[in-house]
Symmetry: C2
Subunit: 350 residues, 2 copies
């Protein structure tokens, strides 16, 4: 009993002491905590091809097959780079380029049309190891916007470039330039026509056409050196106007990567993702609340965003290889590859 | 002694229980915690006119006087609105407009020149009560960029508009449009010439001319209803090119406001502020680490940013009227007004 009595004060003091350390809450403590729990996992690639009202009843078997095949191709392409010892950034860019070149997604070829009937593209990348980032917004003649974002990161002192200035830069870097019509597809042209009709018809339900606003693509990867990278590429919203910039080229909103927390790429109603700094908020909660990437993504997408009325989703990956693919819409084109196995999903309950 | 023994287990259990609650760390707990400590303070306005290598030895008494007078005018103008029961957003916009119209600051008249020799302006606002935000980037003919950001927030479904599209929108909203030469000043033209010379002379120390990159203006206000608002307006960096967008129009980087945490406006080397989501990071640390606005601003500006090599500063204000004016440069034009008294500062140790 006496021994017990001697232990009690020690116990209390040690509990209080632990809670004091917690209360100090300095950057150092928080970050070292995150780093300690971040044992480097095996090479991993996570991708998305946009979130929205994606329902099996609206799909043909052929269309579904085409999406699954293209998502698998993007995964295999990026993962092969990781397997060969390439960087997470190379894998992210390569996976995104597969989707940019496919008319199935709202990025590169197949991008949605602006109100004025052209394609204006946004993209961004972030390197979780160096904290460097690059982005382009409102570009119309750069064949691969994600590649242009990479050039901004690697070969300029800036993070973000927009419009004709960004195009001049991309051309100077030797990137392939195309006519704006290169990105055009009949399907997206029809979507614009439908949106313009709905807009003219004030009695129709504007919410109904929200669905074809989405379709951004993105990727997050972890390489053999334990470095994270993230990237996002998009055509934005059908019928967007006035040089609207969404969340995709905004570091902290649509894209974020940091080795000590996670990599994030977002898709959805961009304005909500900007106002809520969604990508960085997921990283911040991991660091400061010491929660897992799955918990953090869930809190932000299923609680915070739902409460505010924002729809969409994210893919996230931490340094240990933990994956979150969280969305509050009816579906999200998505997949991951780890330990040599690719997994592709479309609907909610898969 | 026996009574003591009975208390001990209760004590331990209660300490463990408290720490369990802490570990739950859900949005609800964090936010309600922040809200509880957020007793609404008296109306307050905080402003900045840019951070940089501002030294008394480089100032004339007349120049110093001019800055102090203009900062005081901006404070008095915004504060009068708060005193009359106006909103924090109205006060923020009015205070910033005083600085936009002064050639002393790098926003509106007196904006720095791009590489091509023109003025491209960025601005943003955020409402801490509704979470709504608006921003314009790369605009050249809108007389008051901060007013245009407000219009984007109030009268469009978008958060961010860039270039000619943003100008079309502003014109449609009935905002005053001007020729680009309206913003030009001899002083800034000379700064560009100097920067171009330094650039041509590869042997010169590029760091030396970093100083005149800065000079952004911003304001954060708290109104009688306990609502926070923040705004930032800038000409960006001297000699910027390729449609560069800095942190000022990026919600979460240069501007952020949220009643449950704080309002923030930043100034400095924008690329670092974007990569580190500076404005939102200060808010996130307050919410998730439960620290004060002063501590949070200090951690981010003096530790995190300094470690990464980013120079600049922020003004922050929480709902209780607590103010932080934190910068890691040699000076920052800044001031606040509370309880009817205006205070203006320029140098580090004032």
């Amino acid at each position: 009993m006496k021994a017990y009595l001697r232990i009690v004060p020690i116990l209390i003091v040690s509990i209080l002491f632990t809670s004091c350390i917690k209360d100090e809450k300095t950057e150092q403590i928080v970050e070292s905590k995150a780093e300690k729990s971040n044992k480097v996992g095996s090479i991993t690639l996570v991708i998305h091809g946009g979130a929205g009202t994606i329902l099996k009843k609206n799909m043909t078997p052929e269309k579904e097959q085409a999406y699954r095949k293209k998502l698998d191709e993007a995964l295999q392409t990026g993962y092969a780079i990781l397997e060969e010892g390439g960087t997470s950034m190379s894998a992210v860019v390569a996976a995104i380029q597969v989707m940019e070149e496919s008319p199935l997604f709202n990025s590169g070829i197949g991008a949605v049309y602006t109100h004025e009937g052209r394609n204006e593209l946004d993209a961004s990348v972030m390197d979780g190891n160096t904290g460097k980032a690059g982005a382009v917004a409102g570009v119309t003649t750069i064949k691969s916007p994600i590649r242009a974002a990479l050039e901004v990161m690697n070969n300029s002192p800036h993070v973000m470039m927009a419009g004709p200035g960004a195009e001049t830069f991309a051309e100077e870097q030797g990137l392939e330039m195309v006519d704006n019509s290169y990105f055009g597809t009949e399907r997206r042209k029809k979507a614009l026509e439908k949106a313009l009709e709905k807009e003219a018809d004030k009695t129709s339900d504007l919410l109904q056409y929200q669905d074809w606003k989405y379709g951004t693509v993105g990727a997050v990867a972890l390489d053999k050196d334990g470095n994270l990278a993230a990237g996002t590429s998009t055509g934005g919203m059908t019928n967007k106007r006035y040089g609207r910039i969404g969340d995709s080229p905004i570091i902290g909103a649509g894209t974020f990567a940091e080795n000590i927390s996670c990599g994030v790429s977002a898709t959805g109603h961009g304005e909500y993702f900007i106002r809520n700094a969604v990508a960085y908020d997921i990283a911040a909660r991991m660091k400061y609340l010491n929660i897992s990437v799955e918990e953090s993504a869930k809190e932000v997408i299923q609680k915070k965003l739902v409460d505010k009325g924002g729809s969409g989703g994210v893919i996230c990956l931490d340094r240990s290889g933990n994956i979150a693919m969280e969305f509050n819409t009816l579906g999200m084109y998505r997949g991951y590859m780890q330990n040599g196995e690719a997994h592709v999903f479309i609907y909610k309950n898969e």
